[in-house]
């Protein structure tokens, strides 16, 4: 099998402890995901130096759902027939934002709850020309944050 590659360049790191890659304004500390360039999004800041920033690996579920029907293109199904998958919006407290992602393979909405802790993993989204395309996903850790 061909070596896997990220489905999109520069949005996340791979390896044992993957991280989402965003940006952080060196003037005010505002974080963005995905990475932004140009003027800081904080309307009270004129910062233009938005440096690479690794987001927290663990967060809490803001909400969740699933896709029971195959989404339209440009979605590329991983299997035939289509297998439903779950999605979670996850709050990363220290970065001050909520990031959407698919939920790790093998987990569904019944495994999730608002407030549950989840961690970032990287898994295969689909294959293109035999090359696995990697994507970030959220894996439930079971506990519900206080």
């Amino acid at each position: 099998m061909a070596a896997s590659v990220p489905a999109i360049e520069g949005w996340f790191t791979t390896g044992d402890e993957p991280r989402l890659l965003g940006s952080r304004c060196t003037d005010c500390g505002t974080v963005t995901f995905p990475r932004a360039s140009g003027l800081c999004r904080n309307p009270g800041c004129r910062g233009r130096e938005l440096v690479a920033h690794e987001l927290a690996r663990v967060g809490t579920v803001w909400s969740y759902t699933d896709a029971r029907y195959q989404p339209p293109p440009p979605f590329v199904p991983a299997s035939e027939p289509f297998e439903p998958f779950a999605l979670a919006a996850v709050e990363l407290a220290e970065d001050g934002l909520v990031v959407l992602g698919q939920v790790a393979a093998g987990f569904g909405v019944e495994d999730l709850r608002v407030g549950m802790r989840v961690e970032l993993v990287v898994e295969t989204l689909h294959e293109l020309d035999g090359v696995p395309q990697l994507i970030w996903r959220w894996r439930p850790l079971g506990e519900v944050a206080a």
Binding site: C25, R41, A67, P72, E94, L97, L100
Partner: protein, 398 residues
């Protein structure tokens, strides 16, 4: 700022919602002609045309105002084509209203029309790696219903909303829309039928998610002076139009985004974006939720209608289910919501929808909403939200 002068709604008209696949301007022409007849205004008198753009119809759709003006027969009117996704109609309405209030024209046509494909709304074809709307499908498979479902699930886990509560929104709106001649779906449904329809995005079922429709709506707006000169002493009035954008940081995830703004450096504003849409309209009109006789809200999903009850101040956060269960938002209740039947009965014709909401408020405030009339209606709010940070709220009074 003091409250602006009202402008008069002289006429309204719609082409029924459905699915026929005809060119969008054919629907728009019918809606416009109906509005002219309702207003007693001839096309030759219209000085300005503001139209909601439709993005799925090629370049005639991008220049909807001139396309529709040509289809009605060039009359020399000035035009503006407006795009603000689902809020396009409100942006067009605001363009016409402000032109009238500035004294630059007396009478204007506001119109929106769409023809739509089947199934999920999908981005236009082609590879666009810098377009979040394309990327969310490619990288996440996140459809529009997925985002609606996130809001729905949050209501369940935080406020104890149930699947039956959400289904009851559909049941209520189906009952309201049953007698609406412009609605696409005019059949009552039961809670059991809603819950027996397939789950699209947990917890939302097929019958809880709005369809995409063909349709058109039009409004003839005029200055109060023009209305008086035409012998219309007491027209329905536009009292406020809100087309606000979010304030940073917007901390609610919204389609098509991958993430919210960050509150790491700046605390979130007091009002969420959706709260701020109606708040700006109330402030401009000098009215509050307690003054409303009815509201038309953007029920892209059943659960989203409940969010709106809170966003427009009908109740506190987490109390919308109680309002619904008590029958407060049904016709005959304290504050009927979506007496037209809402998107549940119409499906969404994007550039027409905010204008259709204004048509319904107008009929209600004139006492002409046969079969679905909110008795003694004196003030109504229409509210919606378009992709990419477009707010839309309109307040009309009798």
């Amino acid at each position: 700022m003091s409250a602006p002068e009202p402008v008069a709604v002289l006429g309204v008209g719609m082409h029924p919602w459905g699915k026929w696949g005809r060119p969008f301007h054919e629907y728009g022409v019918e809606a416009a002609l109906a509005a002219f007849d309702d207003a007693g205004v001839a096309w030759s008198e219209v000085q300005f045309v503001a139209a909601g753009e439709t993005v799925r119809n090629g370049y005639p759709g991008y220049v909807a105002a001139s396309t529709l003006t040509q289809a009605l027969g060039w009359n020399g009117a000035r035009v503006a084509s407006c795009y603000a996704a689902c809020a396009s109609g409100a942006t067009a309405l605001e363009a016409a209203r402000t032109r009238i209030l500035a004294g630059l024209c007396d009478v204007a046509l506001v119109v929106g029309a769409d023809t739509t494909p089947k199934g999920f709304l999908a981005p236009v074809a082609g590879e666009r790696w810098d377009d979040p709307d394309w990327l969310r499908f490619r990288l996440l498979g996140a459809t529009n219903p997925a985002y609606f479902a996130l809001y729905a699930r949050r209501r369940m886990d935080l406020y104890g909303a149930t699947a039956e509560d959400f289904a009851r929104v559909k049941v209520k709106n189906a009952r309201h829309g049953r007698h609406n001649p412009h609605a696409r779906y005019r059949k009552e449904v039961t809670v059991e039928e809603v819950l027996a329809s397939p789950v699209v995005a947990d917890p939302l079922h097929l019958l809880e998610i709005c369809a995409t429709s063909d349709g058109a709506a039009a409004v003839v707006l005029a200055s109060m002076d023009y209305a008086r000169r035409r012998g219309v002493a007491s027209p329905v009035r536009v009292r406020a139009v809100s087309t606000v954008t979010p304030r940073f940081p917007n901390t609610i995830i919204e389609l098509p985004a991958f993430a919210t703004d960050s509150a790491a450096a700046v605390a979130p504003p007091e009002l969420t974006f959706r709260d701020s849409i109606a708040a700006a309209a109330y402030e401009e009109a000098g009215l509050g939720p307690e003054d409303l006789s009815l509201a038309e809200v953007y029920d892209l999903s059943t659960a989203l209608e409940l969010d709106w009850y809170e966003n427009i101040g009908l109740c506190k956060e987490g109390e919308a289910e109680r309002l619904l269960r008590d029958g407060d938002t049904a016709i005959g209740g304290r504050i009927p919501v979506n007496p037209s039947g809402g998107l549940a009965c119409f499906g969404e014709a994007v550039p027409a929808q905010a204008i259709a909401q204004v048509c319904e408020l107008t009929w209600q405030l004139r006492g002409q909403a046969t079969g679905r009339q909110v008795e003694g209606a004196t003030a109504g709010l229409a509210v919606n939200q378009g992709l990419f940070g477009h707010g839309s709220a309109v307040i009309l009074t009798a």
